[in-house]
Symmetry: C2
Subunit: 381 residues, 2 copies
Amino acid sequence: MKSLPKGFRGAAIAAGLKSSGTLDLTIIENLGPHFDAAAVYTTNKVVAAPVIWSREVTKGKLVRAAVLNSGGANACTGPQGFADTHKTAEKVGELLGVSAGEVVVCSTGLIGELLPMPKILSGLESIATNLKPDSLDDVSRAIMTTDSVPKVATTSVNGVEFAGIAKGAGMLAPALATMLSVVMTDALLPNNAQEIFTRVTDRTYNRIDSDGCTSTNDTVLLMGSGASGVSLSESEFENALMDICGSLSSQLIADAEGSTKTVAITIKGAVTESEAVEVARACARNNLLKCAIFGADPNWGRVLAAVGTADAQMDALNIDVILNGIHVAKESAPNEDKNLVSFAERLVNLEVNLNMGSATATVMTNDLSHDYVHENSAYST
Amino acid sequence: MKSLPKGFRGAAIAAGLKSSGTLDLTIIENLGPHFDAAAVYTTNKVVAAPVIWSREVTKGKLVRAAVLNSGGANACTGPQGFADTHKTAEKVGELLGVSAGEVVVCSTGLIGELLPMPKILSGLESIATNLKPDSLDDVSRAIMTTDSVPKVATTSVNGVEFAGIAKGAGMLAPALATMLSVVMTDALLPNNAQEIFTRVTDRTYNRIDSDGCTSTNDTVLLMGSGASGVSLSESEFENALMDICGSLSSQLIADAEGSTKTVAITIKGAVTESEAVEVARACARNNLLKCAIFGADPNWGRVLAAVGTADAQMDALNIDVILNGIHVAKESAPNEDKNLVSFAERLVNLEVNLNMGSATATVMTNDLSHDYVHENSAYST
């Protein structure tokens, strides 16, 4: 069982929130000497009670513990749902001897149902007596929902440790309604840690897009204990975070619910990077294109039809499409034989050249399969 | 076989463009005495050759004929594709003794393949010798692609006739890439016919949204012969167009590819009508919600998660959801028992009240089913 970075300890329990009887409740405690934090939350206007709570907590940039549960999102649960989140934070604060206002709460699971608070409160009591450094595996498993494998990434730079866990991906595990991630490090955090973390999130988690749906619970939390006593340079720090979040993002998209293909959509020749991202997202969210990829159909016309809906500068008569290395469309017209495209591998490389400028961006997505429809039509009933 | 409005004649043929051997090529001729026209086209930046051509034709508001084919979209076909559209218009012009610049061309079918021009040109010769008033049925059948039934609507007001035909719906028949519609009337068109037609289109065709995908070929054409000699009042004219286009829109969504449910999404209590439409569209394009409806799952949490992504003013804690008459969520929290919701009928009424203002709008969509994935992953291969 892998250890958390210095200054952290954790534990998890099967509190009975998930009918499967697997781990579903976990605490991550930061013992310091520093308690620095940064966080990024969902952009959805409808947010779960734990997001409302945790946004306030992380404004202070001081977080001593995070408590996370699967088996219930505590979203759209009204005043009682918020009271339950508050009570959860208070209980953790009491058990660890810290203020509730320094405890981040994250929940994931079905929307619109109250959490079974007696199970959570007694579960937290058990966890608090059992916190230990070598808990990375348990902690990562406790936030799994429809994930088929836990997602963990670790790295070390100049004597500093980084460890990250994650579940879901956007709305990859959608009835379960969240992508959650916690990244821990024993580095001394730079003053602009939030700025750096936001930038890293934009280029990792925000560039995977399973089905375009934005959840009510998405939370990405960075916690720094400073226990190594080491300050990294800003670029070392950012690179380490890119490693962790990039690895977790790849793991998330590879485990996307019901998917049979991972699609890397690279837009080249855009005027700006944000326009390249816009065009890539328009492709990533196009159901027709995603069905075609599921069907191993090199239907590049759907690529151009998707590109044309994006809010980006383009010359509609001068777009190139390269699908798994075959230059199927040149100047928006047929070029190499599309039947040469092989879909033998899980990874599909879709490259679009707008031939307008020099900006580029890649967004990762997956295909739209029978299993996606099945899993998302059958979950809660 | 129903007749076209006075002043129009048409005919269709199986020219061999569709492998099924059914009708696939048609001409609608306006014999006047007026040749007024209005048109609305796709907002996609990537447009098919016939759209590039026809946009120029209808700028002059004078259209003597429309030629429409199924079995090929002539989209993303480069300079040759445009030359083929031009040649088609010239051939029709020559056969009917009118200018090519007064001939609208519409195509629907697979993107990225050239049309078999010899078949089209000889087909047009046969059609031109056979034009007749009682051709509404044939004309409507010739533009069908994956449509299971032809879509026709007729009405008469004060001695004036209106007849409309349509195929697809947005990207309902998506590999086939288009929604096409032609509305004919023998009324004398008002001077602001384009303005009225645009307004009608916004409230009918633009409020059905099957899968959020926008095609390269969408064209809606209004042709007025003036042969009745009657001028309607502006409101009579607009109401008649609303009848025709509203009926065709309903027929389109009812026949959506692979759908098992039609969903009427009504947003109430919005600050503006356009915000109500935004919120309704966010629901209509949310795959998770559409899968839940396919699964007869009253998962209203997905409704709120979808609503929260819309660019509209809302109080996230004060939204109501009424699903088939059951008030499942009040003030964004559980209310009536969701298990009371019945999905026995094809039509699902989803009502969301934002409780912010008095604006309202309805968007029609359909569920996301196994068959949608199947039809759209298997079409072109």
